[in-house]
Symmetry: C2
Subunit: 316 residues, 2 copies
């Protein structure tokens, strides 16, 4: 599908890092970076910008902070077309943690927030713009938000200087119609802005929901190699690129890094479609209880997990 | 989604058997059968009807033949609402292999054929109707068929007495628009007939394509437990049932059999989403080369597999 204004964002390290506390070694991150460069991917999200006050380096790897000294060990001065992004969570970062763009290899800061944090998110995003970065706001967990609250948040975003806003299916709970209606709502409420999609794969719909968004007018598409990401993971990059058949992208460099680095890691980190993630997704719940269950010795006792869920009768 | 006329068909044993030559023991098949009964599934396809001249019992298990004596060891007289189906491949069965319905616990014969076999398929299906069975015709590999050949086949099917015709995505190569257009074509060409969908998961679109078909007017939905089936497998039954939220179905009995029987089997039989299946699907090729590759010691060398494919430059 040839659409000139499509942008693809690789979130393998940032979203995948939620499964191993960003404990990737430099070789691994370099391989993902090189693969994205070779494949012609537009953006790579290499981790989070976070305050050292919020997290300890004893617990989380360097990609939770994205200090330039750590980034440059992998990407040098990033003399490539690939743009680099880091995500910032409202409440986990201070403005002074973000250097001026002139001192950083990062090109973009994506601000993740809940609807009730929208004012803080707009302030931080515009602060990052003032420092020279491209920015997006990724409004999370909207499947749990009342429509009027969402409408107010979108009205605030419409008034902001932020030029890209993401539709985020945080819980992997959205079906075709949900995505279609949400994309229509965002496009209508946010004239002149670019819309992105970030999908999760709890019901094996991440790829489909990404295409549905694209067909609805979304142009910024998140994906990860082999779908690596929190819980059930994300839209698999290799499926998306095979679908797009866009001359600016290449599939083979992605298969190469999947083969050498990502697929072997799946033996240690169990992301992807598993029944507990289906259950939280179908119940429109945060995946944290499923992730905890998957880390326990009961991981394969699907029936007990379902019976532990509040409101499981909705699916019984 | 409440639609009174929805029918769900479990193909776990029949399609999953393509991965282990139908070598399931009776306990396994009984567990799937009991799960389907408890869950309120409408049909269970318990294997193939085949001629003993076409296959050797030394190589394939009893579910490749579905002799009533073998079936009754598992289902007794099937004094349940669940209807039992067997698939018949044109060229692999003789009419005399099919007993009169009055002597069989089977309720339905599904005739699988390619477009050029349509006359033989209609003859066999009507022969089965005469013997007392419900029948369907499942027209395979239509993604490789010229449009006028498909239109002629559909015209022949329209004239037949066969009341249910399946849209089959044999290679897992179909995207949203492909499925949507094909469903529209079948519905228009086959007035008064019930349409079914049988999807494969090469591009993680089997669930999505099944919903798309349902929204387009298809009422007979194929799925398998944990997606077990040839290559990348099928639409996962548990995701479909969680989506439908139809009061006639229950999810927990399906999770129970998945937990005890299906999920443990996945350690031995590697069905599901894997890169070689993505490649054959995206290239609209039969999965046989990917299945062979997945059985070799090179199974995780995705780059070499892709380079071995004719026309791989289409995706490169």
């Amino acid at each position: 599908m040839y659409k000139e204004n499509i942008k693809v964002m690789d979130c393998t390290i940032r979203d995948g890092g939620l499964m191993n506390k960003w404990q990737f070694d430099n070789d691994f991150v370099k391989a993902v970076y090189d693969g994205c460069v070779e494949a012609g991917i537009d953006y790579m999200e290499i981790g989070y910008k976070s305050s050292e006050k919020s997290f300890s380096r004893k617990e989380v790897g360097p990609w939770k902070f994205c200090d330039d000294k750590d980034l440059r060990k992998v990407v040098g001065d990033n003399n490539n077309k690939l743009k680099l992004s880091a995500m910032a969570d409202i409440g986990r970062i201070d403005p002074e943690d973000i250097p001026p763009k002139s001192e950083s290899v990062l090109d973009m800061i994506r601000v993740a927030c809940y609807a009730h944090q929208i004012d803080k998110a707009v302030w931080l995003a515009e602060h990052c713009m003032d420092k020279g970065y491209e920015v997006t706001i990724n409004l999370m967990a909207v499947s749990k938000v009342n429509e009027h609250v969402l409408d107010e948040a979108l009205a605030d975003l419409a008034k902001s200087k932020v030029s890209t806003i993401y539709v985020v299916d945080s819980f992997g709970s959205m079906y075709f119609e949900d995505i279609q209606q949400l994309v229509q709502k965002y496009i209508k409420a946010l004239p002149g802005k670019q819309i992105g999609i970030h999908a999760h794969n709890n019901m094996q719909l991440a790829m489909s929901n990404t295409i549905t968004s694209l067909n609805g007018g979304v142009t910024m598409l998140d994906a990860t190699l082999l779908g690596m990401g929190r819980g059930a993971g994300n839209c698999p990059m290799e499926i998306l690129i095979a679908f797009l058949k866009n001359p600016k992208y290449r599939l083979l460099p992605l298969l190469d890094v999947i083969q050498k680095y990502i697929h072997p890691l799946q033996k240690q980190i169990d992301w992807g479609y598993h029944i507990p993630y289906l259950i939280t997704g179908a119940l429109n719940e945060h995946p944290r209880s499923a992730i905890k269950w998957m880390d326990s010795e009961n991981k394969n006792d699907f029936v007990s997990f379902m019976k532990e869920m509040h409101d499981y009768e909705l699916l019984e």
